[in-house]
């Protein structure tokens, strides 16, 4: 049901046009942060206002939308954004990754490989990878302009000096096509290899910071590292307790106060698909107990 008081997908056509111009520029210069005139959205900053605006600018009435939050289709953020576009754009929605044409995501890349024609929209809180190293925006822009990225390695050096290994586990910086250093939004570094050479279009929207950037299909994104401390995607050393998958990113759930815990796929659609196909994990036979 479209709510007729609003234009298709909530934003007015001129705003969408402005965002599309920013998107085209971002696609043309992979990894470069394009400023755009971010609008107030009917949700607080930090809830995905950047991603919602990018999604709104990309949607057509024929699209099928999927929204995930930390991999899950059924959490508050995902449900409310999905409902928002159901109501304002009347587009079809799905939880099934291969069926979706536009996927808005918060902090995960789906486990199922994306294919050409799909668009993955990230919600980005802080687009500037150098922000916590250099607080001045004027200076970070200059550093991007001059490819002055030594500081990024100082951060990784500090990690190793303090923890013995690169302890950065999410928002792990990548270098795009040998030029711009980019913050891939707070996805776990487990997902970093999926950024590179992906068949789908990857768009990143930061609403509060008013920046859009992008990875076109088949773009190379190399995770920064040291020769003697190479990049390693990490995950909990377990199999999913519901579907038994050994190669998916896991959430840890505390099930009681006696030390009981289970590990489940953070990608709910991937997990449900495997269970439907007959894969059963350690605790997959019974429904997981919900502790009040």
């Amino acid at each position: 049901m479209t709510d007729q008081a609003y234009n298709f997908a909530y934003l007015d056509e001129q705003t969408k046009r402005m965002i599309r111009r920013a998107l085209l520029k971002a696609i043309a210069v992979p990894g470069y942060q394009v400023p755009f005139a971010s609008r107030e959205m009917p949700m607080p900053y930090g809830w995905g206002t950047g991603g919602v605006q990018v999604t709104a600018a990309c949607l057509t009435p024929e699209d099928r939308l999927k929204v995930i939050d930390q991999g899950a289709d059924d959490t508050t953020n995902a449900v409310s954004i999905r409902k928002f576009f159901q109501r304002t754009a009347g587009v079809a929605t799905t939880e099934h990754t291969p069926d979706a044409t536009v996927i808005q995501t918060r902090h995960r890349i789906p486990e199922t490989a994306l294919k050409a024609g799909q668009i993955l929209v990230y919600q980005v809180p802080i687009p500037e990878p150098l922000r916590f190293l250099e607080p001045r925006e004027s200076e970070t822009r200059k550093m991007h302009e001059l490819e002055d990225y030594g500081l990024m390695h100082v951060k990784l050096y500090e990690d190793i000096a303090r923890h013995g290994t690169i302890a950065t586990a999410y928002a792990y910086p990548v270098k795009v096509e040998g030029r711009y250093v980019m913050d891939p939004s707070p996805i776990p570094k487990f997902d970093n290899p999926k950024l590179s050479g992906n068949a789908a279009i990857q768009l990143f929207g930061a609403g509060r910071e008013q920046r859009i950037y992008a990875l076109p299909p088949w773009t190379e994104a190399v995770s920064l590292d040291f020769d003697d401390h190479p990049f390693q995607p990490s995950k909990a050393p377990h199999d999913c307790d519901l579907c038994g998958a050994a190669d998916s990113y896991l959430d840890e759930l505390i099930t009681d106060d006696l030390g009981g815990r289970m590990f489940v796929c953070s990608d709910t659609d991937f997990c449900a698909g495997r269970r439907a196909a007959g894969h059963i994990g350690r605790l997959g036979a019974a429904e997981p107990e919900v502790v009040p």
Binding site: K142, G150, A161
Partner: protein, 261 residues
């Protein structure tokens, strides 16, 4: 070939400054400064507060843009260079030691990270090698190797200043700018720092432009001396000559103002 042999083989100045002028609106920062700096030479710039010595230094180092004049580094026109090239020089061939180590150090980064930053900025990507080099340089500036993972905020003022020097010299620069490197340190720490600087300058064959108001510092370190007043150079020559036989009235005042213990 030792550093001294290399210096002897050079036939042109490392830094040529010609008619350098910087104005702040109607006021003069520094005016019409001309000098040559040869490889391995230490040039002292003295003068009272507000005489334009820090302005001159920041124009030379590219932190501020001069209004008039020419700066040639190794035959290359510094003022005509693009920002990329100038920053490249600033990371490799040049070094700048600030008066306050907090301006020159990253206070939230460990000593090792501070020393390694220049190496990583020019493409070092091997953690072990970066760390070895940082350890080596900490040793050269007399900081114990077990302090490598401490932050500069845990260091004393003298150690911070030595760390700043290590951080600057790790990329083997040829030209070092120093702005009051001993300011704010007590005399015994000053003496050790000066000793250290003198050793490093001689061993590495560095060319140095050092700004200070402390005549004892230039007496120890500088080969040549420039005296500035109201933005202009009033006298220049060999350090001992200027200090022992000052010609200009202001230099005479400066020399006679030094307290004798």
């Amino acid at each position: 070939m030792t550093a001294m042999d290399r210096i002897a083989a050079v036939t042109r100045p490392l830094l040529q400054v010609d008619g350098l002028t910087k104005r702040y609106g109607a006021r003069i920062g520094c005016a019409d400064v001309t000098f040559d700096l040869w490889p391995g030479e230490v040039l002292g710039i003295v003068g009272e507060s507000g005489s334009g010595k820090s302005t001159l230094l920041s124009c030379l180092a590219g932190h501020q843009r001069a209004d008039l004049g020419r700066i040639l580094y190794d035959g290359r026109d510094v003022l005509a260079m693009g920002e990329t090239e100038r920053r490249g020089l600033g990371r490799t061939d040049w070094a700048f030691v600030h008066q306050n180590p907090r301006d020159g150090l990253r206070m939230g980064v460990t000593a090792g990270g501070n020393v390694g930053e220049r190496l990583m900025a020019v493409g070092a990507r091997h953690y072990g090698q970066i760390r070895d080099k940082a350890t080596d340089w900490l040793d050269r500036v007399e900081i114990a190797a077990d302090r490598i993972d401490d932050r500069p905020s845990a260091f004393s003022g003298g150690m911070q200043q030595r760390l700043q020097i290590a951080r600057n010299l790790v990329s083997s620069p040829r030209l070092v700018f120093m702005d009051e490197p001993t300011g704010g340190l007590d005399v015994s720490v000053q003496a050790r720092l000066l000793d250290l600087l003198r050793g490093l300058v001689r061993d590495l064959g560095l060319s140095v432009v050092i700004v200070t108001h402390d005549l004892a510092v230039v007496r120890l370190l500088a080969h040549r001396l420039m005296v500035m007043k109201s933005g202009r150079v009033v006298e220049q020559g060999l350090t001992d000559q200027v200090l022992d036989d000052p010609q200009h009235a202001y230099t005479q005042l400066l020399v006679s103002s030094v307290l004798q213990v």
